[in-house]
């Protein structure tokens, strides 16, 4: 009797001790398998002769060579550079500007903040669909202008293969700049008000106070914002699918839509895997140095 109750209490005690580990274990195992397991599997696929179905014959760097010979991949990469560059720069600029304007202790700040931040709560599919309607020449902005009597108004970027990628930029900026604004606003609120007053008494104008003192002193937020925006840009997929579908033709393809097309429509699993690995390498190139500096910074503080 006494022995059994002591085993029971031992069991309870060890359960208590390990409860957190037990609770975390399933999701840990799942992410180990589904995220890292499939990363390894994809890396393997990229070295295989897979086409429609996965096969495990070794092909060396053959898939990567084929990938880089494809005109469509070059278009996707070029689009990523255009889209990523513009998206990051415009979001930073708009976010920063909105944050500075909201920081002026204006009335109804809470309402405005919510309005600007709200697009972030939508899924990219919704954003893409909405902007597709707005930018559709026969349906949205152009038609409205024509109906209002401005017959010569022309805004056909959505169906123009030279400009389709810029419509993706417009929609993505609309969605993300509010979030960047919130990041900057939080940082601005952390700045000591006395600094602004001191600069004011020193005779600095408001733009000079912001660009000369405040914004340089919140530089770490820029780094965080760039990392957030950059990984959004690299992995953006749903927005393009909903907005342009990669078209016209493949003129607004991004690496993610390229990969999807190759895997599920063109029966080129190997090329698709190779392009996925290229994207992974790109994201790692951004994230790893950032994490490294963050973690090292944490150690220094601790």
């Amino acid at each position: 009797m006494g022995a059994s109750s002591s085993t029971e209490s031992n069991l309870m005690a060890s359960l208590q001790r390990n409860l957190s580990k037990i609770v975390v274990a399933p999701s840990f195992a799942a992410s180990l398998f589904f995220v890292y397991g499939f990363i390894i599997w994809t890396a393997w696929m990229a070295f295989s002769k897979s086409r429609m179905m996965p096969v495990y014959d070794w092909a060396g760097l053959r898939q990567y060579e084929r990938l880089w010979q494809m005109e469509r991949w070059h278009v996707a990469i070029e689009n990523l550079l255009i889209f990523g560059g513009l998206f990051i720069v415009i979001c930073l600029f708009l976010g920063c500007l909105l944050a500075v304007l909201l920081d002026q202790r204006i009335r109804a700040e809470g309402v405005l903040r919510t309005i600007f931040l709200y697009p972030m709560a939508l899924s990219f599919i919704v954003t893409g669909t909405t902007w597709k309607w707005i930018l559709n020449p026969g349906l949205g902005l152009e038609k409205m202008m024509h109906d209002l009597g401005w017959a010569s108004f022309k805004f056909d970027w959505l169906v123009n293969s030279d400009f389709a990628i810029y419509t993706v930029v417009i929609a993505a900026v609309w969605q993300a700049s509010g979030f960047i604004m919130a990041m900057f606003l939080a940082a601005l609120r952390g700045v000591d008000q006395d600094i602004i007053r001191a600069a004011y008494m020193d005779g600095a104008s408001l733009p000079r106070i912001y660009f000369g003192i405040i914004i340089p002193s919140i530089r770490p937020v820029f780094l965080s914002a760039i990392v957030v925006l950059a990984h959004l840009a690299v992995k953006s997929f749903d927005l393009v699918i909903a907005l342009t579908g990669g078209g016209p033709g493949y003129s607004s393809d991004l690496p993610a839509t390229f990969m999807y097309t190759m895997a599920f429509q063109r029966n080129q699993l190997g090329i698709s895997a190779a392009s996925a690995m290229m994207m992974l390498a790109t994201v790692m190139a951004i994230i790893v140095p950032y994490l490294y500096s963050e973690l090292r910074g944490g150690k220094k503080n601790g």
Partner: protein
Amino acid sequence: MASLTLDKVRKTFGSVEVLKEINLAIEDGEFLVLVGPSGCGKSTLLNLIAGLETSSDGEIRIGDRVINNVHPKDRNIAMVFQSYALYPNMTVRKNITFGLEIRGVSASERDKAVDDVARLLQIENLLDRKPSQLSGGQRQRVAMGRALVRNPDIFLFDEPLSNLDAKLRVDMRTEIKKLHHRLGSTIVYVTHDQIEAMTLASRIAVMKGGILQQFDTPQHIYEKPNNMFVAGFIGSPSMNFIEAKLVDDNGKIAVTFDNNGQKVVLPLLENSPESYKSWVGKDVVFGIRPEGLTHKRTGSDKPGSQYVNFDAKVEVIEPTGADTMTVINLGGKEIVARVRPDRATNPGEMMTFSADMNQISLFDPTTELRI
């Protein structure tokens, strides 16, 4: 350098009146300290002078120039902030020259000005560091340097020492005083610390609830406080207040109060103000500072003093080294007396105390004003 005049200055936020008709005037080279508990309006007053806020009414003048509607940068004043407010992205040198740069001072003049100020404040070796690499005391010096380099008419200090530790605070206090002597500049200094006010000021303005309570030299405020608030706020430990009565004691006016069933009668000085006469037979508040209440002394111990003795039971003693603060109970109130350590007794024992009638104040119990 310039004089500063505040003429009937008022400030309201909505329907709340935070400053009620403040009249102050200081001469060129004076050190004015605004002191009071938090929320008394002293920082608002400083902001009005700085131009960070605009007054609702009244006139602010530097010299003969009315500055109510002058932009802060054109008022030729410099301010040292409580949080130092150094520009975190700039080196110390850039911090100090930022204001000069904006005013279009040439690079060579700026360098010379920085070197002069750095030498004065002994921060020459810090000029190329960022504020984050400085200690609190060093930041304080840089903040002062930034104000000094502009060579303003008036310096404003907003609780500049309250973020420093106790030891450093005393050192910096002395340093500010030395600096004032050396530069002869006009300074307005805000603090809630009455010791800072006493040690630094050439004149103190005591404020409470947006009202200027008293504006005078430190010694005068200490010896002849206008009302019970000023009396209690300035001086540490603060003044003792005893509920008492003025009586006619064989032709002499005396103050009398209850000492645990016994009546203590302390005759006032011969040269007491005439106004006391009308208070005979009425209740008053008898105020006496701890150093006016000592172990038994005679007139010859300190010329000009007039001592009256009474006995009381010691409740608590608090030795501070130089003096022993002895707490006694008079009329249900704790009263602190400052006693020489070798004359102090143990708690519970009876002891004879002397009240120096030269150092007393009498207040009206209803208006709390000095009689």
